[in-house]
Symmetry: C2
Subunit: 493 residues, 2 copies
């Protein structure tokens, strides 16, 4: 039976790989050279490239990695690398603070990191150019003038236009939903629309931040103030990206606090006339060049085949960007670092990419995708950590049923840190394009219960990070990336 499979494989490998030869000729050449070895010597009794390989065989192979997984975990949690990703992140964010795309500060932080990655002994350390938007916040303020004077904390939204220098002073209408807006469309003209939408989870509620300006502008609103997208507030405005709809007038838009949105809602219910003055110096300047930051541990057998993992290095211009996405970026570095420190070398290349311009809409990731999509058949798996590094439970995975079962075995190796969950549907702006073109994807599965308290606020600082949780996250990342990169075959897709 085994011989039959091997013979079948030998035929299959050329047929299957043929279409991708143009993208990965060198690799395929190398692979064809080693096939003979594997055919005779593979310690795991199977050959790479065989789509029909039984699941049990994958599982048996993965089980063989338990010792290596334990080593990685041990080094991350209790060994000399304990606290390392936290300490590196601390030094980084304290030195540079936040890193808004378009700023010299972000570029300086990239230069610093490239240097550190080289010092860490990693391979192929380099930046890859990406053209990114250059939005500047400028000075901004909002004050309620009627029914009483009260300053409103606010943060303008990314890509928003500014107000005239003297600001916009106008009556307010508060709406709670799109329906509410539509029902009051005739009262919107000339007013500032305040959205006081209920928190229904980030993915639902963020719709108001993303589209609130244009939907109100279509009815003639002069500006929009959107309740910050968060379940908890200490009068905390949250910034974020917004999208203007083509053909609709661009009006200034900002997030205000939950508290102030609710207050104005109550005032409106009481029949009080609300007047707000909004001043925003926001500007959209010409695009500039930024860089994705890349480092690798190169593969020993199939160096052109890649397990890609990362986070983004840019942040909003608030806090320190230590959570979003300092955590994701630095556990990715740590994952590479752990493998390197342990002297491990996977068969495929482990490639860290720290994207730029994520906050402006995954700009760096888009540039990266377009530069590398020709090699898509060599991308074994793409991994993104951008939902915090608080208490990882395992990973979220997008792939075929068989790949999912394989990954269930992989995360089972994370038993020592109790991170064995495999959830459905990896998420992440920066890997979405790869996944939509069939590349298996993973994202870090974490406790997100407090993530949106700090998201896009001045509270996104090192204070919210915990060294142990970062160690645990880095261990998850390193184990998953290494084993997928080292297995006999790429994940089926």
């Amino acid at each position: 039976m085994l011989l039959f499979w091997r013979a079948l494989h030998f035929l299959t490998i050329y047929v299957i790989n043929f279409p991708s030869l143009s993208f990965g000729a060198t690799l395929k050449f190398e692979r064809s050279e080693v096939i003979g070895d594997i055919f005779n010597l593979s310690p795991r009794g199977w050959l790479p490239g065989n789509k029909e390989r039984p699941l049990e065989d994958w599982q048996q192979e993965i089980e063989g990695y338990r010792g290596i997984a334990d080593q990685i975990i041990e080094r991350s949690m209790r060994g000399p690398a304990a606290n390392q990703s936290y300490d590196r992140l601390a030094t980084f964010v304290d030195k540079f603070g936040y890193r808004l795309v378009g700023t010299q500060n972000l570029e300086d932080s990239i230069d610093y990191l490239l240097e550190k990655l080289k010092e860490d002994g990693l391979e192929n350390v380099h930046g890859e150019d990406a053209i990114v938007p250059h939005w500047v916040r400028g000075k901004e303020s909002a004050e309620m003038l009627s029914p009483r004077r009260k300053k409103l904390a606010l943060l303008g939204l990314g890509s928003s236009v500014g107000t005239p220098e003297e600001g916009i002073q106008s009556e307010v209408i508060v709406v709670r939903s799109w329906d509410d807006l539509d029902q009051h469309s005739k009262q919107v003209k000339g007013k500032i629309v305040v959205y006081n939408q209920e928190w229904k989870g980030y993915s639902k509620s963020v719709d108001y931040r993303s589209n609130g300006a244009s939907r109100a502008a279509a009815y003639g609103a002069v500006a929009t103030l959107i309740r910050s997208v968060t379940p908890l507030s200490i009068n905390s405005p949250h910034t974020g990206m917004q999208d203007y709809t083509d053909g609709v007038k661009k009006i200034p838009t900002a997030c205000i606090t939950v508290e102030d949105a609710e207050m104005m809602d109550r005032m409106q219910q009481r029949g009080e006339r609300i007047v707000v003055k909004l001043v925003m110096g926001a500007q959209n300047l010409p695009s500039v060049k930024s860089r994705n930051t890349v480092a690798e541990v190169m593969g020993s057998m199939y160096p052109d085949e890649v397990v890609l993992f990362g986070g983004h290095l840019d942040s909003w211009d608030v806090g320190q960007g230590a959570m979003d996405d300092g955590g994701g970026a630095f556990i990715s570095w740590q994952a590479l670092s752990l493998i390197s420190q342990l002297g491990l070398r996977p068969k495929r290349t482990m490639r860290m990419v720290l994207w730029t311009g994520e906050e402006m809409g995954g700009i760096g990731a888009e540039a990266y995708y377009h530069a590398h999509k020709g090699d898509i058949s060599n991308f074994d798996m793409v991994m993104e950590s951008d939902i915090g590094t608080f208490h990882p439970y395992g990973i979220k995975f997008t792939g075929t049923e068989k790949a999912t079962k394989i990954m269930e075995s992989v995360v089972d190796l994370l038993r020592p840190i109790n991170a064995t969950q495999l959830a459905n549907e990896a998420d992440g702006t920066d890997i979405a394009m790869w996944m939509s073109h069939g590349v298996p994807g993973s994202s870090l599965l974490t406790d997100t219960s407090s993530y949106f308290y700090y998201h896009h606020t001045d509270g996104d600082t090192l204070t919210v990070q915990n060294p142990k949780e970062m160690d645990r996250s880095a261990a998850v990342w390193a184990v998953v990336a290494f084993i997928v990169a080292d297995m006999e075959e790429m994940l089926p897709r």
Copy 2:
């Protein structure tokens, strides 16, 4: 046996009450008039004033109140009064915002409330003067200039002096504890001391806010910046009172955020030189007159005997003072309101006092105590709600062992709202003086797990309040106050 107790009581009442006759002559006269009735007719079979009254008798009497307690609870939770305290508070805090002592805004809010209390049909509605400090914040800002420029969110502390107009620019030394300060005392001179004390609960950690300035000034510090006293921060500074030590130079002092205190601590550990510029326009102006706000439901039999309950109406100059102590103040109004709405009239007077100047150190409560301490023997119980109105579990009580057992029976009447816990040691700045002179005291026992997130910040707004929890708190308050005010006898002390 019963007759023996009654006869003994008849003798005892004059002996026991004699020392207090000078303070409560009118009352005692009225009481002596009704004694005959009670002797013959008391429906509960016992006479007031008997210290030896068996506990079982108290318990039996209290059990008889279950129907009334149910009525109060029903009206508060589901009846026409549901949401009323929340709605009243909302209207109030949206109209006036925060209410710093010394401001016309606080006095306007007191005038408004006196009017509303009269409209609500309450009795003896009036203000009682109290002389209060007049501290003004002025403009304030802080910026870290080295190792990099970063604005520091801050709130100056009550009673702090300001800086010179041009500010104070100085090197920073970070300490984590009093011991740490003492050990580095020689390095403090001429510096700004940053306290990065660990959060160990409010009552412990607030010591740094209260005494940080003078303890550092004694070693020659030029200013102090204290980590805000909170377990959770979204870069949120918390204000509060501080106390200068006599004979020590008064230096400017403010709270910064947990995040910035931790950041500077890390920078110091890395050997980086930290320089901060602090500007504070704070001033201590001459004292002014404010008022405690009083309303009653008068007692039917012993109107001069009083169950006093309340919260404070002043707040810090941040947020809306909706939690600290809008909640406590408005559930106190609601407690009176509920009794009045139900047409109940207790034997003793239920008196609500909304103190002024609490935030500056219980100033209004001190004035109230000194004005009324001559009547102390008529104060049956004092009650304060100033730790939030989030999910009440029952009450905290300070009193004799017997009084505690009696109160256990009283809170058992709160079974329908599951608020039957009786904890030890009532707390509250505004009732402390009464308790220290032997008057039994109660405070609302609540879930305080998130209270200090918002305490003394811009996040102290109506958003943190929940109508149902306020209804529940008002029910606790009304049941406890009414029953203690209506029982045959004052609580033993």
